[in-house]
Symmetry: D2
Subunit: 349 residues, 4 copies
């Protein structure tokens, strides 16, 4: 481990949720990071290991009230808050020095108006939107490397975007009728007490939700349009799985060009990507195979040789879908090996 | 309860699986049925309540070896066997008198060749195929009423067919690009010991399977083609849910006619159907709301007013997807109120 | 079904929790009961089937604000409220006519002081305590038959009491060192939004709680003392299971008399009890075998022929542990067959 | 990472089960170990990552048929086999050079006769029993350091022994009436296809098993007797939890000496133990807080200040209950820091 002086000082604002504790877990184990500050408005003074029993024996940190001065001494500050917090604090914090990696939706949409419509409040820092970089390394690695402000993608957007990406970049599908049928474990709904997330409501049960329009939709479309170089249309239906972690997105697209070797295209596009695993054609990625891991496992199918491509994209919604991706961004921003601190093997079973 | 002489004598062949015990449960509680014989090759001599602890106190039946003579004394015989058994016994049994309600796939496809391809064995009674009636009451009620041999539909086909039916009957969608993304609890895989169905393999996990081609596909297409009056093309992707019971099928179809009131069409089509519940537009049917029930709950969506119809169709795979539907067929065949013995309310939570 | 005029008019106060919806389900299916009123302070005006999707198609009831006048027209009123509500309304309601079956703890302890200590508020109707009957039919059937006010036992107390009963009545064990290690599904914690009951907190997890002293302890001791005819000492440790329904209590007691045939004693004591199933010696009752059922399944063991009796007692915490037992009490109070409306077979799997 | 020549060459016999894959995961990540050989009789030739999807991208190993010559080139060989395999191969393998760490029960009991009774076959290498060391570091660290043959303790024995240890060493309890009520996730039953381990049988269900006498009983008694310096009597009742990983043992013992500060005794006894975490008095250890971790978390209670001590002991049955403990033994045997490769933080949620 390097000398203390070269360790990256990190702070986390609003670490009382699931992406927060996952980020703590990853950063505590990161050889080049020193987790210096962890804040929470409501739980200041409480030890983290009181709230999160897995941390006991690994962490003596105590939640502090968010303080721009203290956070300002960090090299990087993560926001693991719900939307609406980062955009209020970002400008002041950036001025104090740290780079920001925001896990919330605050800086994901380039259009402040669109953001305001979907998140039902005015955008708190529209002037920062042009400098914010959408933190999907597989597309924006270059910009991430020099960014001051990263908007970590949402969980569904990560799985869906990585799944469609090669088809759209290569113009192989009808972009007007994309379908993303996505299924997520309940941790995606967060750690707040809500009836719908109770074990007695979500356990031994399955249902769709957000069919009329989910907040991740504009974010996904923004990226898909960019990849396709034109406007795309997506039917996105999320569903709630009776389990804790994992997202599988089953993507359907109508091939406009039947002659291409989809498998080769995916393998090629992602050959250099440490966190996208293109499985052999016809594979069936399981969410448990990436539990706790930053990998996105993808498999491409053309059922019965027809004209519909079916792509399966599996991630851990808290890791590649949030906190793991945030650390991947940190590694890029600070010139570290991109896989540092992100190489653990999923436990099985 | 009616006098013993007017009770319908029922027998079940191969009742050691989940559809079997579910059928036992339903028939024991059916006011007009006397469960007279329950057979199993491998477990003859064992009491049912030894194998199925829920039956203790409710049932003194013992598994008998399958015997056409004994079964021949029944008014109706159910086959709760895997495929390949009913077609071997059906002819002899029909000759002995009883009507047959087969929960297996043996008589679902009209084309014996097609059946042989998908089930990897020659069809054992092709001459019976013309008289076999596909037991989906919402379409075939008339034929069921006078049938001697019923092929109870598969679980996925039931949910998917009922979901698409009004759109296809009315010619409202592009039939070349139908999509059925279906998710089922593990009981659909049966009670046999197999590694993939272990709690440690299927629990806290999610994945697609059978993408290359699932046995239910030809069965679904047979009915969709019939409803559409033309050849249809379906992408059908099943998935395994980390729970015991339930299927939710999320169906996507491209509307060719945007002017129709889909909600009204569904409500009208199913108004007289006791076991199809068309929920208010935009509803989100949950599988737990039909657990143990013979209901299929459907909700129609047109996300963002686009040209894609999204239909959600929820059933209990063991009830409306198998044994409940079998009893519904029995009621029709024997002139009983169709809902008899099938009116229990799902437990919640 | 009997004529409307002979139907028992029932009301439920506070039916928005899990015992509430379970009671609705049981009463809707009860051939001699008409569910006339269902109240909720916070949700008045909402249809029950909006809150509880399993009721859709079975129930058109709407929550009303609690109104003693309206409730007063019922023959029986159930309280499915948390503690602290029934004791405030009981006196007035009894005066208006109905009998009361209270599922809360308000009238379970005979000692108002003791109640106040454990429930942290003064008892609201101590004058009613003498007339309140502890609704465990296996002990108090006679008193229940003529009672005006029933205190339905808690879930853990039901399983534990029925498990120990024959040993204590017969004076077969050392009463100073009884041990009840009990495990319950999460529905026992109720339907309120609380972090500990989230799927992400309680799922794939197991822990003890309430070790220092659980509110059910005084209630259990009250009955055990009564059965033993002396003061007993119990170590009671409850645990939270990662599932929805079910309680298994594993009871340990040191035999003072080794010569007795425990199996025969249990069988004899419960021979006439419709809802206690004494399984063959050495059996292993499973909670799923009583899911949705009012049965308590018990098995007695003497491991390695030693001097420790181990009794396993399984119930559904919402049924025999609450709402089923409430209906069993109603049947006794109104002179109906005790098993009426309580005979359904658990679904399996 | 040290030069290749100083890496410890490890082999695993029978790595197709859950303890096997867990061992692979731990050893692949161990900085001082090179996993050189992984064998399986039935699956020779198959890649590990074909059988275990979590290993894809982390491991190119292929199962080989067990070959004493090849295994003989290892420094240490682990047996992750069911009982009956290690004792057949151990002598020959030890002669070839490697040290052996056996995760099965073959060498846990010192008495070959007793072993034969419980495991229903003659012991295959009774002459090795005297040199076998029971691999519980908290008791046998010294002997482990110089051992050639380690018998890794069973999962239940680990949790139960560590929980009782300080009470027995200090003679604080009545040793004739110890009670261990233990609950385990289904992975304890292994990866073999068996109906009882199906999700549809073990999910949403709870039950006791092995009450008449579980194979872990003689092993536990052997150690408890050793700790107490006399014969002890234990009622041990295991139960099956509807989840994948974790054991919580709830231990009951009657205090003979009420004056002792149990908390201080436990803290003192385990102060130097890296993998036993004595939590503050009255804590409630959760199995999820040690998921994937080698920690055993313990909390001591004296409910209501009575004379019964209640000790809660939580482990991950596959880690501290098997493979993690195996690696802990390896570290001791090879003079490495005991915590090497065993310091990861459990994921939460």
């Amino acid at each position: 481990m390097a000398e203390e002086s070269s360790l990256i000082k990190a702070g986390i604002v609003g670490a009382t949720g699931y992406t927060g504790v996952e980020l703590v877990r990853l950063l505590l184990a990161h050889p080049q990071v020193e987790l210096a500050a962890v804040t929470s408005r409501s739980d200041a003074g409480q030890r983290l290991d009181q709230m999160f029993p897995n941390l006991r024996g690994h962490c003596d940190l105590v939640f502090a009230a968010p303080d721009v001065k203290q956070l300002g001494r960090c090299d990087v500050v993560f926001f693991a808050t719900p939307h609406g917090v980062a955009h209020a604090m970002a400008a002041e914090l950036l001025a104090a020095g740290p780079r920001i990696i925001d896990l919330s939706a605050d800086f994901r949409l380039r259009d402040a108006e669109l953001w305001a419509q979907w998140y039902q409040q005015p955008h708190g820092a529209p002037e920062l939107l042009p400098k914010a970089v959408y933190g999907l390394p597989e597309i924006h690695r270059q910009q991430i490397a020099t960014a001051e402000l990263i908007a970590v993608p949402g969980c569904y957007p990560t799985a869906i975007t990585l799944g469609f990406l090669p088809l759209l970049e290569q113009g192989l599908v009808d972009v007007d009728h994309l379908i993303a049928d996505a299924k997520s474990g309940v941790s995606g709904a967060g750690r707040k007490a809500s009836v719908g997330s109770l074990l007695c409501e979500a356990g031994e049960n399955f249902k769709a939700y957000g069919v009329a329009g989910h907040r991740h939709l504009p974010e996904i479309l923004q990226t898909l349009n960019q990849l396709a170089g034109q406007s795309t249309q997506l039917s996105f239906v999320p569903h709630l799985l009776p389990m804790i972690r994992g997202i599988l997105a089953t993507l359907y697209a109508r091939l406009s060009d039947h002659s291409k070797d989809l498998q080769a295209i995916y393998e090629q596009r992602y050959a250099a990507e440490p966190f996208v695993d293109v499985m052999p054609a016809g594979s069936l990625p399981e969410t448990r195979s990436v539990r706790g891991s930053n990998l996105c496992r993808i498999a491409v199918h053309r059922p019965l040789g027809g004209d519909t491509a079916v792509v399966l994209s599996a991630i851990d919604n808290l890791v590649k879908g949030a906190s793991g991706q945030a650390v991947q961004n940190l590694n890029i921003m600070f010139g570290l090996p991109e896989t540092m601190g992100l190489q653990s093997i999923s436990g099985l079973p």
